[in-house]
Every structure is written in structure tokens, then in C-alpha cells.
Amino acid sequence: MRKLSICAALFSLALCGVLNAEEAMSMNAADKAMYAEMSENNPAAMDVAEGEELFNSLIGQEAYAKVLGVSVKELPEMIAGFPRMLTATPKYDFTFPKTMRKVVTLSQSLQMALASRDKKVFKLKDKEMNKMTAYVKSLANDLKTNIDVKANKQMEEMVVLGQKIFEERRGGRGLSCNSCHSADIVGSRLRMQELPDLGSKATASASTWHAYRMTQSAMVSFDKRMQQCMKNALLAELPLGSKEMVALEVYVTNLGKGNTIQIPGLKR
């Protein structure tokens, strides 16, 4: 209760900061205090716990491991390597015909797992899916992302496509992701926001989303966060799960390969 009211006070302070442009530097004193407070008690931990309940009641680790073609023990390492292509799984009941060998995100693999259990398949944008994916990703906490973009032809294609999407100028202002996140520009200031180096240890984008976004008071997934940049910069939002969006996730994840997974993250 006490924590809650402090948060509320800090939030309104942060809002006042936005109104007063001079004070709204990317991390002012109020932001920093809020960050310190929340890193001890990340509000998104509750979403992850709800995700755990959903996952256990609808799928369970055993059934999920089966869909991925690994043992329960191997699950965390497997999860740390998404997005990835699911191949044939001779050990178990499922074999995937060639036509469906696609690179999928963690959420998409959960859609398969739900279907394998004859459960309602949540949409990628559903809050249940958001929470469940966050929980499943957190099973790989403390491991390093181990995406393998050379694993097969499909992954090789996806990382190339992802880079193309990342660098393609488009939309209302003719910007690309690279306009703001290329190596020669990170650290500069857009308005009062420092441009983050997505792959660096400090930012570690791919391994720290799902994160609680303080400016939105909600847990946001990695692909959703990328959509938010598109929206802000007037690029048409790529739909979640589209080949191009998955490719973007492959590319950006690979930029930060080897960073430690820490779900839920905490971001501005």
C-alpha cells in the first residue's frame, strides 16, 4: 500500500516533468527515484506470475517441451534461442512437414502449444499471450541469448530480411530504425531521449523485454516495443507475427546475442 502511493506520487511528478520541458531530461531525479523503487519491486512481476498460472493450467512444461522437441530439462536453453525454427521432433509425437517449417517467436510457439492441447489459441496481441510469453521467457532468466542465425536456411534468410527491414526508410518522415539506432548515432539525443544502442550490454533490448514501461504503466513485449517506435516515427506498424516483424526480432535479437536474459525488465 505504502509502495503504491509512492509510485502514484512519482508518476504524477514524472508527468509534471513532461509538461516542463526543461526538467524532462530522459532520466531526471524523479525518474531515477522511481526507477530505483521499481527495480526492487517490478510491477510487471505480477503479470509474469499470472502468465505462469495461465501457462501451467493451459499447457504445462511437459506438453510445451514436446512441441519444441526437447526434454523439460532442455527447455530454458531452447527458450533462450528464440526466434527459431522448429524442426522435426522424432523423439515425440509431432513431426513438422516441410511446408510449416517457419521461424517462429516464443509467442507463436505458444500458439502451437495451445493448439496441441486443444485449448483456445490466444491472439498475439491478447494480454493473456503477453503474460504467458513473459513467463515462458523468464524460464530462461540468467541464461544468455543464444539465437543461431546460421542454424538453417530459414534463419539465414530471416536475419537478412530483418536487416533490410531495419534499414529501410519509409513512412511519413522517411525514417528507418537505422536512422535512430545505427552505430554512428547511438548516444546522441533525440529531443531529450538518449538513443539506445539496442544490442549493447547496457540496453540489451532482446533480453530485457518483456519489460515494465514506466511511461505507460504496463508490461510491454519486445515486438510491441518495436511497434511503438514505428508509431512514434510515423512508420506504418508491422503486424505482430508477420514474417517481417519476426525477421526484425531475429535481427535485433542477434545484435545483442549473448546478453543475459532478465524478464521482466524495467524501462522508461
Binding site: 496441441s116 526508410r169 518522415r173 533525440l190 529531443r191
Partner: protein, 172 residues
Amino acid sequence: MRKMIMLGIATFLGAADLSRAVEIPDATAILLKDALPAPKLYTMPKGCIVDDTAAIARGNYIFHNLNGKDAKENPPEGLTRLLPNGKEKQMGNCVACHNIEGAKGYGNIGPDLTNYKALYMDSGVRNGQFLYQQIADPRMDNPNTHMTVNLANGLFSEREVCDLMSYIVSKK
């Protein structure tokens, strides 16, 4: 034998069903519609830079605001918060990357445009034509520029680009 076949079918169906469960929307049309025209050369229209206060006020407003909806102050004469089609009018948000006289919360991705006329125009390093092209389509000068494209993609009209120029070179 029969059991084997049944199992085979079950496996096949299981796999087919799983593949169908994955949501993979097609983004091709979205990307096509969002594409940017090729870089283009422009010629500055006659009478582009003016010292008309209304033009300078519009340039000022476009420079410092992101869009009509979020703007704190009402737009000056000749600019509206919404477009005729009801969508919000996008402004330049140049201040996100450039400092200039009186800028609040400016970024530093682009060069400081403070005292631009005296430093760059009067000294002869820059002229109106350069300025017009830079704002209209900066890809001609630098294909890898980090700056926004403003005329080639229809974000602004010719007059609005001139308004921005009139503001940048005005006495502040």
C-alpha cells in the same frame, strides 16, 4: 498395422493443426503503401524566403511541434491541427534533432541551427537552394542521412518548406 496407420494420420493432423494455429499476417501491402519515393532534386520556388511575419510564425510552429494534436498552442494563421480529411496534421519536430534560438528540450542529432543566417548564409557557405533541398529531401546531399524527408513524401507542401526556411533565416 492398422494402429500404425491411425497413428500416422494422428501425427499428420496434429502437425497440420499446429501449423494453422500460428498467426502470420501478411505485411506486404502495408510495406508497399509505406514505401518512400526515390531521392529527388528540387528547385527552390521563387519568393520562397520572405520576412512576412505570418510565414515566419508558421515556420516557427512547424519547427517546434511534433503534430497538431499534441501541440500546446493553437497553430498560427494558415496552419490547422487537423487536415481536411480529419487526420491530425503532422508538424516537423525539427527541434528533436536541432537546436535553434529559444529551443526547449532540443536534441543534438543534427547541427545547431542557431544564428544560421549570419553564420552560414551571409558567409556564403550555404544558400537558399541548399536549404530548400536539405529540408525537402536530404538524401540528395547524403544518402545515409539521419534527417527526415519532408517534401518528397508529401509530409509538407512547398509553401511549408519555405515557411520553415523563412523562420530559420529570420532575425530572432
